[in-house]
Symmetry: D3
Subunit: 317 residues, 6 copies
């Protein structure tokens, strides 16, 4: 359903359509399957981060990817994907940045609810803003979260404000979502305080540690989480914190640790999430291209996005 | 005038006294010559920066420096220097961060006005906050600025807020200082818009480009600037943006450029400033240890601080 | 069967014999098991590559390897391995480079057919030239290819010429081999266009994606491929593109991707290939030491070669 | 049993107590569970190494770790851990360095035998010195070694002296331990000469190659080794050479190789060792922070230590 | 003379106009002052080079530069500069690549002779092709060369073909230019064979070593060379090999050496060349962004281009 | 006077003759001008260093240098230079290492006194051993030292032993040389304790700080030092500590600092020393290739050696 003929063997940048002034006029929104949105914000990160550079880094790197997933025999070009560019950010006014993000999601949901929004962060603070935007557009919906993360992101809002350590707590305490509608797959090691785990227990936040998930496979854990959550909510929001990956695979995720997830586990996890009809939005956060090594993490980030879209094609067929 | 005997050949970390709880009780403030203050803030930087890591990086690196300046035959141990630690920062509330910085300077000036404050940034936004703190403590004083920088830092406050591109304009527009009491030595190349230069002309901000300064030497330019400014003001505040250095010497200053200052020129410039009786405060900003190479920039940062203190010893003798 | 006594615990460089002028005169070729050949050519690579530096990088790195494989209890010194040095390359005349490579293989096969040639590339374009050289020496033979690669290497010869994206198509279209006599183990992800997959299907090129191969193990896939191909051909040529490895393990393979093979899988794969009597030649390509990290990829390259030779010892015993 | 109240969510550096002059006076040694000791020695390493920087690198890096192990639901703060600082080393007198290490262990065992010593090396030569120190304090004990290493460390003392290639042989030939009381899990590839393997066989040194260990899992191999060894000895000493890890996970272990252990395998291995009552000491060696990439190896080193302590908590409960 | 209003403080990418399909139709060529052309070719380089990535790297990096030269008080926006994109290259057919380059220059000179072509290489082989293109368009002109290079580039065409070591000899032996009409400023050290110097003497090629040039300043040497050459030729072509720079300033120029030119010397040299009316074309070659450090060399490359254009503005006013 | 014909344009590795077994038999020592000796020792360095890798790094890097110095119009091939290989080192016995070094120098001086020894270190401890070897061979000579160094190297032998911080003191206290016969050009900054400067004054050690030397030029300072010292001694030994260079030019010299010497200053300094008839030996120390960036420091090291030999050719003609 794309007017301009694609080359026979398109690369991703030839397929994804940036929405410049000319195109926006002629766009038939009813044909758009997915909208990409960049959020170049990382000044709300607890530790110094260049995740603000990530949206453009992903855009550059996806020139090296084909639209064809050989293992799944899926051609992504059956989807129409539009890149809306970046949400406008302010240099020193973080509340304005966050408000812009919420408004961007709300506007997208109100005007083009048939499209699936895929957001390229930025630090994890943005997830709270994006989900709030969704909730504003769909106040009647129960929203659940499938989180792939090394961390709970349940730290105290009083201490940190809306930072990258607090988005899940932010969503729970603001009443946007319920704790039991969150499932985090991947926490491991010594990177979450005991009180945060206790908070998770109290508020019903579900989690499956990486060690636990690997007993039957991360893919299996994802399928189970999808089943449990999808019974409880109208919309599942998938949030991928790239620091869930092992530091050997993701040197460019500032908080990545040894003992984390492998890229092949993560790609399969998001592909499976993509196949599920309740999963209606996704984001990818905490990838800092400035400290990447040989672009390994940025390439992994693109692969995560394309794996999710592979699942989406499979869902639709 | 230091009670505890130093080892015969102290390294800098053996000489500078961190102000922990025990020491603060017994401290005779009248003996303190210089107070060091860390400001681990870089979320107000226009581009992503890890300058928040700089205060600790300087503290680690100065273990590799002796207190003795061989070329000047100056022993820094004749100064009593106290490290007050870091100003408390907030993760997502930049105005609070800035308020804390201003209050820290104001408090230091009010309670211990005989000491010279030397601040380790952080991004350049902090200079506006520090000078405002000085002004609050000494509202009657005319304050001048000797700036060593590749950039004017005169960008629009409306567009950026109190970021690292706006501190000088911030100080002028808030009435804290007068444009003519600023002199920037080192701007060069294609890194300042024409309208900013026009703003400099309009507001009387003085500057000497690097090319101009090198005609008779950067040292000569500094001496002239000190002479001109010291006739006009009560207090001269020295602010050193590490990106004034050439990128070959300062890979860890995010905005450093080719064609910038050499380290030997900078060290001599700050030493000369240190000798002048009107220079009563100093800061060092925009050094990001996360992108340094072989610690070259962090070591240069320590050297800048020690060169200034060398001048201070020479001033006192 | 080696005249000079080796030290009791030889390192690889003490065992492999470089063929200088003195040695070549006295060499008893009937005793030589394996000949190594460097091909320092990477100007035929689609993207910029320093794979031309690889042969010398391997030679330097193997000084850090013992000749004894502890896990297999195999001592490689039972093989006589001669390093013939590099095929002469031209700076700007790629056809001459390629002709020299073909002639080198043809000459080796004609004069010393009892030795197994192991070639250290260079980019993957050289495989087409090497197999053509074999075919010239043995026009009556059916030759098959066991390829370990992320990519099909079936891109259009009209568009690219004899580049590193086209060697397999080059061999098929030139009638050197049949599509059905190729098996590629390891393609994965979004790195092969759909039309290339269709070309593979049309020409009968076999492939096992990494995901598929891992169901019963890469080792199992290799055994099956060897069985299938060895029934069909006289000679099996093993070609290892180092970009089959995950980018976390092979940062120095320019086209390595996230989600690729692990080194332990690759080492076992080539060892198994080495044990099979039909596998009569091997090459290793697309390793760029200039972008390696801590020599991880170069060390993996040496390990691949030695793993193959381990299999060869096991084959002979 | 710690007097000062810890913060509710302590990081590791808030929990581990450095033993400065003030604290040592008031310390109730009967409450100390574990003593940490740094050994900043790497001039006894065969190849150039900065492992002398490791103790301080670990201390800096553990600020980024919580005390809570989420997967095991273990809070390390139930242990009292004291950091004794570094053993004094000499710049050019290696025998003095080694003597100091032996004496440090002997003194610890004599004066505070109820604490478990955990040593942060340094190169692997120190293990011989530490175990000798133990033996001096407990001459009646049989001591066994559980070694996780790519290498046997059985090279000739005549050729190398007490270097990082010889500690196990040193212990055997000095009569400190018996060969059969050593078990090395993890040797692999081409990194051990055949004569060393023969020496291992002759002296009864046990080993399980990585390939062998992975058949039923590294965790299973560790449990078996613990069972076998614990029947034979009074004390088991765990020594972890970080080069047992794959070079992709441990770029900062100078002798790490492709095809090595994964971090998750190693963390589980040491945790299991920590649970066993006969394991009474541990060291961690051959980690060179100067060549690390994104601190991956240093972080893995901290994780190894904390994983062992997790096992220790589990042992005690 | 630019139709679309520029923002008040344009960055370079807002000012330089990429010539896409829409713009080319409406372009008034008579208003174009400078045409930029990328030549992404480096497979003709003697040693492995990623200079093919340079044109795009320059385009990305110039987003960080203002159009205003503060030291010269020159605003580049008075020039209309059009970026024509890249000359089409072939993967394996170097003669075709070279032919395309020559034809591109010839076509530009024939159709738009009033514009000044500025070419972004690629390796130095392209200079021979570009000057030949000029000669084809203007067969009656005498062309001279002002070369800034560590090397003569006079190596044997028989041995190397049209590589990056031979362009000047290529131009002389093909009769395109005369040896005496070449002046190379910057050769130094041990990087030119004696026979090449003898060839330079025989053919009259002029050169000023860096040591010689620095006696009165590189700027002075450039002025003298311009004077001498401009009396002899109709057109002066400026070719800047980035390896003329010291390796400390230009880590991304593969053949840069210690003891080379400083960036400030080079910027002033090309600015002066830009002011001279006979200088009618320029190229910049041998910059490999893949091995750059902190983009220092790419930024220096942009600075070189903008310094030349600064001179061009000064020439016109 | 070299029997084998060199190629017309030799690179350094084609000219320098490694002394293997075959060549040593036929060597006419009376024709040898210079003997190169590697000393791969850095375990006597105060801080961790890979300077032991330097001799081989220099040998690899000099393949990229021609034998012709264009600026001086000197062809090094008029010298016969023999590379004797490396002095045998022990892994854990530093006194044996040092003894071997002294014996190597003594033997060279006794058997081949007409050749000039040029030693490639290793850390600076070796200079004490080399000069002692010279003294043993020539007990009647007064030996002087021209040192190019950031540091005095006068630290206490009691504290450090024969380390890289003590060689000059070692030579003075052992009576091998007199303090007044040493001149160090280049100390600067905060890298020498005051007591060491006092020791220098007491023992008469001469030094010229970099700031002082630059007043009339480093070249001028070298000429003066040569004049003063040569009147006092029979033999001048030149020792070049690569950390005299600025860290921007010598990232691979572990103790290099900001504000150090430029490479062009150093090259000219050693060339001038090479022209002086009293300078009869040279060494180059403290270059760690493991932490180099783009081989800048190793290339500078080769350039230093060749600059000295350029002076030697000039001396002889
Ligand atoms: Ca996280
Ligand atoms: Ca998170
Ligand atoms: Ca600045
Ligand atoms: Ca600034
Ligand atoms: Ca491939
Ligand atoms: Ca391939
Ligand atoms: Ca080991
Ligand atoms: Ca070991
Ligand atoms: Ca050149
Ligand atoms: Ca050139
Ligand atoms: Ca030194
Ligand atoms: Ca020294």
């Amino acid at each position: 359903h794309r007017p301009d003929p694609l080359p026979p063997d398109p690369q991703v940048h030839q397929w994804i359509e940036p929405l410049d002034e000319n195109r926006v006029k002629n766009l038939d929104w009813s044909e758009v399957d997915v909208t990409l949105l960049g959020v170049p914000l990382s000044r709300s990160s607890i530790s110094a981060s260049g995740a603000s550079e990530n949206p453009d880094a992903l855009r550059r790197a996806w020139k090296g990817f084909a639209t064809y997933n050989l293992e799944e025999e899926v051609d992504l070009t059956s989807l129409k994907v539009v890149d809306l560019g970046d949400v406008r950010q302010h240099v020193t006014d973080i509340p304005t940045c966050h408000r812009n993000i919420t408004e961007a999601m709300e506007a997208m949901r109100k005007h083009h609810p048939q499209t699936l929004p895929l957001t390229m962060g930025g630090d994890h603070s943005i997830t709270a803003m994006l989900v709030k935007g969704w909730k504003k557009a769909h106040p009647e919906e129960q929203i659940g979260l499938l989180q792939l993360d090394t961390h709970f992101d349940l730290r105290s809002l009083e201490d940190f404000g809306p930072a990258n350590g607090t988005p899940i707590r932010n969503l729970i305490e603001s009443g946007t979502i319920r704790g039991e509608d969150v499932c985090n797959i991947g926490p491991h090691g010594f990177f979450n305080a005991r009180t945060l785990k206790e908070y998770a227990i109290e508020t019903g936040v579900r989690y499956i540690t990486l060690k636990e998930a690997r007993k039957e496979g991360v893919d299996h854990a994802v399928r189970e989480a999808l089943e449990v959550l999808s019974d409880r909510v109208d919309t599942l929001y998938l949030t991928v914190d790239m620091d869930v990956l092992d530091i050997g695979f993701a040197p460019g995720a500032p908080a990545a640790t040894p003992g984390g997830m492998r890229t092949d586990e993560l790609f399969e996890a998001v592909r499976i999430a993509g196949t599920h009809s309740r999963v209606k939005a996704m984001d990818l956060v905490c990838l800092d291209p400035l400290r990447d090594v040989r672009e390994a993490t940025v390439k992994a980030g693109v692969h995560v996005m394309l794996s999710f879209l592979t699942g989406l094609v499979q869902r639709k067929s």
